[in-house]
């Protein structure tokens, strides 16, 4: 006898799935977990719940600030993993590496080596068990020997994202074009944006050119390739120069325009939103994200505070709903979840076409 597909039947299907017991190689998982824990800083010592929010957090924040405030007076290190280690890297302003006249070479935990040509500028977004870099200018050569983790190293250049699969390759950002040369192994290159994007698998030896703005492959680019000569030195040639980033800052104290309550005759829809048309909604997003940050990263009472500067790309559909948003850098998981929800729930004015809005903001406790 036939029955229609209904909820009761669907429940039975789900229960069938639930009956399957997963099988894992627990020895391998355990070994990997505890190897990774060896690289973790010791956890904070717990005290009473009341004191937890004050003394311990203050100490942690002070340590994080000390680790992340990489002033020029501090002796630069060859191994950035030491300088940048810490669980709150995502929450803080990332550090830049600048090669002004001399190339800069550094390594990370002996499984990733980098060589930044001069002139070049590189932003370190993450450097722990994985590495995430943003090439702002110039050419970066990468040698990744680790093969146990998929995409252990990712590099962004313009709107192009290069994900590494254990390989020897270089990325160069020049004249709005990202050139990726792969000598060994393979990399995946695609737009550095969310959603259903397509990427290209480059298997060495090969070269691909990508538009730095839209992240799409460029066919037959004209500039002449240089032979790929990668520096595989075992020790870094010179210590990297670490400076504070120089991201543009907005005056967040300035009030944003508020929509006039006057009744106006119907107006034709704009082709796309701009900062002025979306000002009210952007201001609401700013306030909500600031609240998220404050809620999930309490300030200490000893005068030590952490400021984070983030940039958000918000894609808006013609009907005003947010189709996706990218946070650069992401916040801590809880703050990120809260902030993502704030953006997703935002309602922008309608327009004829989809819009992309950019929002830079500094977060303070």
């Amino acid at each position: 006898m036939n029955q229609p597909l209904d909820a009761r039947w669907l429940k039975k299907v789900a229960q069938k799935i639930a009956e399957t017991s997963p099988e894992f190689d627990w020895d391998r998982v355990e070994t990997a977990v505890f190897q990774r824990l060896e690289r973790e800083p010791a956890p904070r010592a717990p005290s009473s719940p009341a004191a937890y929010g004050r003394a311990v957090t203050a100490g942690l924040i002070a340590a994080a600030v000390a680790a992340l405030t990489l002033s020029v007076s501090q002796t630069p290190r060859h191994d950035l993993s030491t300088a940048l280690a810490g669980p709150t890297v995502h929450d803080a302003v990332p550090a830049d590496i600048v090669a002004t006249h001399e190339p800069q070479a550094f390594e990370h935990e002996q499984w990733a080596r980098f060589h930044l040509h001069a002139p070049g500028r590189l932003r370190v977004l993450r450097m722990d068990d994985r590495v995430s870099l943003h090439l702002l200018e110039g050419k970066l050569e990468v040698d990744v020997s680790r093969r146990d983790a998929l995409e252990a190293v990712t590099i962004r250049a313009g709107n192009v994202r290069v994900a590494v699969h254990g390989t020897l390759f270089s990325v160069e950002l020049r004249e709005g074009v990202v050139q990726t040369q792969v000598q060994q192994g393979s990399v995946v290159v695609g737009p550095a944006s969310r959603g259903n994007t397509e990427g290209w698998l480059l298997i060495g030896p090969s070269t691909g050119y990508f538009d730095a703005t839209i992240g799409q492959r460029v066919a037959g680019h004209s500039y002449v390739d240089q032979p790929l000569v990668l520096h595989r030195s075992e020790t870094p040639s010179s210590p990297p120069v670490i400076v504070q980033p120089t991201q543009p800052q907005r005056d967040l104290s300035a009030p944003s325009p508020v929509a006039s309550p006057k009744i106006r005759p119907p107006q034709p829809l704009p082709n796309a939103l701009d900062d002025h048309l979306a000002a009210t909604t952007l201001q609401a997003i700013r306030q909500n994200i600031t609240a998220c940050y404050r809620r999930h990263l309490p300030s200490s009472n000893e005068g030590v505070t952490i400021h984070a500067q983030i940039h958000i790309s918000i894609h808006v559909a013609p009907d005003g709903h947010v189709t996706f948003a990218r946070f650069d850098p992401p916040l801590s998981p809880r703050a990120q979840s809260c902030a993502s929800e704030a953006v997703q729930n935002a309602a922008f004015p309608s327009a004829r076409e989809s819009s992309v809005l950019e929002l830079s903001m500094q977060l303070s406790p």
């Binding site: 036939n2 669907l10 639930a18 956890p43 990218r326």
Partner: protein
């Protein structure tokens, strides 16, 4: 009035002090639960063991936040669910390879191995689930597959229980609609239920 500090399991207290031997014991005690929830939320994908690792690393990093106000298992589930959701968000930001090997290959040959066929059906069911929006997908898996009640799910996903019920309702409706609209999925549903008498099956008509 005196404040009562929640009592925390001594094992967890030792872990909070950085005792790695204690953390190993914690790992052994809870790895099955973590593995199950990660597997069920992600489906049969190769990176499940990596995500399980990530969950325990995240537990180690944030164990100080656990103060015994809720059951440890609830807190652990929340960490696991959030880790999986972060992984899925990251996956969505990654490009889909334009390569033959990544395109769905029509499975027009019969698998002689019954276990392999069963896995293939489960994979296909998760492919259906992947077409759901993330919030509905999460709620559906936690309720229908993991067996949690809406109140428990609400505490995990930081949403009211009523919202969870609503998402569940729409998740079921969407899945059923997808299956009804595509005969291939309806036949998958029949296969998943095997030889159950009350299964809906178009083949039974013939």
């Amino acid at each position: 009035m005196a404040a009562f500090a929640p009592k925390v399991d001594p094992l967890i207290s030792r872990c909070q002090l950085g005792d790695k031997t204690a953390f190993r014991e914690l790992f052994h005690r809870h790895r099955g639960d973590v593995g199950r929830i990660v597997q069920r939320m992600l489906g049969p994908v190769p990176e499940v063991e990596d995500i399980i690792q990530d969950v325990f690393i995240q537990v180690y990093r944030t164990l100080q936040d656990f103060q015994g106000n809720s059951k440890f298992s609830t807190w652990l589930y929340r960490v696991a669910v959030n880790t999986v959701l972060m992984h899925r968000r990251a996956q969505q930001s990654r490009p889909v390879l334009v390569a033959e090997s990544t395109r769905p290959v029509p499975n027009d040959r019969l698998e002689p191995d019954e276990e392999a066929a069963r896995r293939e059906r489960i994979r296909a069911f998760y492919a259906v689930l992947d077409r759901l929006p993330e919030k509905k997908r999460t709620v559906f898996i936690l309720h229908e597959i993991e067996g949690m009640n809406p109140k428990e799910i609400a505490s995990l996903v930081h949403a009211p229980a009523l919202t969870v019920r609503t998402r569940l309702f729409y998740a079921r409706r969407d899945i059923l609609r997808m299956m009804q609209q595509e005969p291939a999925l309806a036949s998958l549903a029949s296969e998943l239920l095997g030889s159950d008498d009350d299964q809906p099956s178009s083949e039974e008509e013939s």
